[in-house]
């Protein structure tokens, strides 16, 4: 019988939740890396036992952790105890150096700061880890200050895909309130040379040559909080999602507005429709129905909680515009949590499961595509990310 493994990153450690395909009874392990912020964990589609985790701290910086046994044990690739010369390699796994080589294009040293001046690019943390669809040792990292790195040796060493920062608009990117993070990486299963990323607050970008060159794909986005609402970059994209069967269709939860593109980002249109508010962070797509999408509306950019203290997921079965409210099993009073951008995931069992975590420490599961919800856990630290693996 199939099983699921839910990987939960929180403000104070990582937790792994496992269940059989019924998704009614759960085992909880953790906290792993107790006391550290776990921005994201994700398993390799090519080898589900390979899991990568971004462990970070304001005090001690960035650590990359790797498991090769489904999260039972962890190691810092390249950073083990140096027992003898020629033994373990040095601790490169924590080293994210921006590319300053003139050989790789146009290395940048500054971006726009809050006050409009230029500010040095400074590495702060890894927001998102996206393992390759085909190679367990290849993994991409989206970092703050916004850039994309790739490791091809299981997280031991990291190299920037410098064409993203260097394509020309980089000096115009600026941080949002949460920092200037590259938080979303979407890989195209049908075209290994095509990838999409999203950056707050710059927008979406696409490569069609495996990461060498990039271009902004923000036409159709409108953001009233920037001087030119239709600018090429400067949009605060919160999350994008794709169904693997239709790689040209992307859905977006923006700072305000839920958007859709049918041409791989060349043009976007709004599909907020009848949502009670089109502010929010997460968006995801049903595993088997590419026109079925989910969002969690949040009241506003100044009030990061559900409207009226009622936690609801909204589902559209029409690819946007027409939304239904899903509340069964979710708190309908006095709920003032947030659901952060990386904190929703979808499994691929026949009856598709939907998961999301809250800043109040709850992780909810719906084993029936959103019709009903049950908390798996209620009292974790604030949840930063949720991913799910569907295991044979």
């Amino acid at each position: 019988m199939s099983r699921v493994r839910v990987l939960v990153g929180t403000h104070k450690g990582a937790f792994i939740l496992t269940s059989d395909g019924k998704r009614q009874s759960w085992e909880v392990s953790g906290p792993h890396f107790a006391g550290w912020e776990i921005y994201h964990m994700k398993g390799s589609p090519a080898d589900p036992n390979r899991i990568y985790a971004s462990q970070t701290s304001g005090w001690f910086g960035q650590i990359i952790q790797r498991s090769s046994d489904g999260g039972k044990t962890w190691e810092t690739p390249g950073g083990g105890l140096q027992t003898a010369p020629g033994g373990m390699p040095s601790g490169e796994s924590n080293k994210f150096l921006y590319d300053t080589s003139t050989d790789t294009g146009k290395p940048l040293t500054t971006h726009q700061w809050y006050d409009g001046t230029q500010h040095p690019w400074e590495f702060k943390r890894v927001w998102h880890l996206e393992p390759s669809l085909t190679d367990p040792d290849t993994v991409y990292a989206g970092v703050e200050d916004a850039a994309m790195f790739r490791s091809t040796d299981g997280g031991t060493s990291w190299h920037e895909l410098a064409g993203l920062r260097g394509h020309g608009t980089g000096p115009k990117w600026q941080p949002g309130a949460g920092g200037m993070g590259l938080h979303t990486i979407v890989l195209d299963s049908g075209n290994p040379n095509r990838m999409f990323v999203a950056i707050s607050a710059a927008g979406c970008f696409r490569t069609d040559d495996g990461g060498k060159t990039w271009k902004p794909i923000n036409r159709g986005l409108k953001s009233n909080y920037i001087p030119d609402p239709n600018a090429e970059v400067g949009h605060c994209v919160h999350r994008i999602a794709m169904h693997k069967s239709r790689p040209d269709v992307l859905y977006m939860q923006k700072h305000w507005d839920v958007m859709r593109t049918d041409d791989a980002g060349d043009s976007w249109r709004e599909v907020s429709g009848n949502l009670p508010t089109d502010f929010g962070f997460v968006i995801d797509v049903h595993a088997h129905e590419p026109e079925t999408i989910y969002v969690v509306p949040i009241k506003s950019d100044s009030e990061h909680f559900p409207i009226g203290g009622k936690l609801s997921v909204f589902r559209s079965r029409t690819g946007g515009n027409e939304w239904e409210e899903l509340t069964k099993g979710l708190p309908q009073s006095n709920c003032y949590v947030n659901v952060l951008r990386d904190a929703m995931a979808i499994d691929s069992l026949d009856s598709c499961g939907v998961y999301f975590g809250t800043t109040g420490g709850q992780v909810y599961c719906s084993p029936d595509s959103g019709d009903t919800w049950t908390p798996i856990v209620r009292d974790l630290p604030a949840v930063l990310s949720v991913e799910v693996q569907t295991l044979a």
């Binding site: 001690f60 910086g61 960035q62 650590i63 810092t76 083990g80 105890l81 140096q82 601790g91």
Partner: protein, 98 residues
């Protein structure tokens, strides 16, 4: 033998219990002690000092014989109490956050 006392999170990361004991070749300075520590425990690279600039991370301090050495030259000789192992060289995390 130099004794180095680390914050709890770094001890966990390096799979350490208690103080680190290090042999440091040549002059005993902030730089040579931290170099030796990172050579022995490569996972600590980047967690105390920046990978490239080797600047101390902002929320960490270096304490030496009850004095704050965070702003001393990295090449200043540490006192005999440190080089003899009588007193530990302390890496201390700032009290902040929740």
């Amino acid at each position: 033998m130099i004794r180095v006392e680390l914050p709890a999170h770094l001890r966990t990361l390096a799979q350490l219990q208690g103080d680190v004991q290090l042999d440091v070749a040549g002059p005993v300075t902030l730089r040579s002690v931290l170099d030796a520590l990172e050579d022995r425990y490569p996972v600590l690279r980047g967690t105390i000092r920046d990978h490239v600039t080797l600047q101390r991370r902002p929320f960490l301090r270096y304490f030496v014989c009850a004095e704050d050495w965070s702003h001393e030259s990295p090449d200043a000789p540490l006192p005999p109490e440190i080089s003899s192992g009588k007193e530990p060289f302390m890496v201390v995390g700032a009290i902040a956050g929740g």
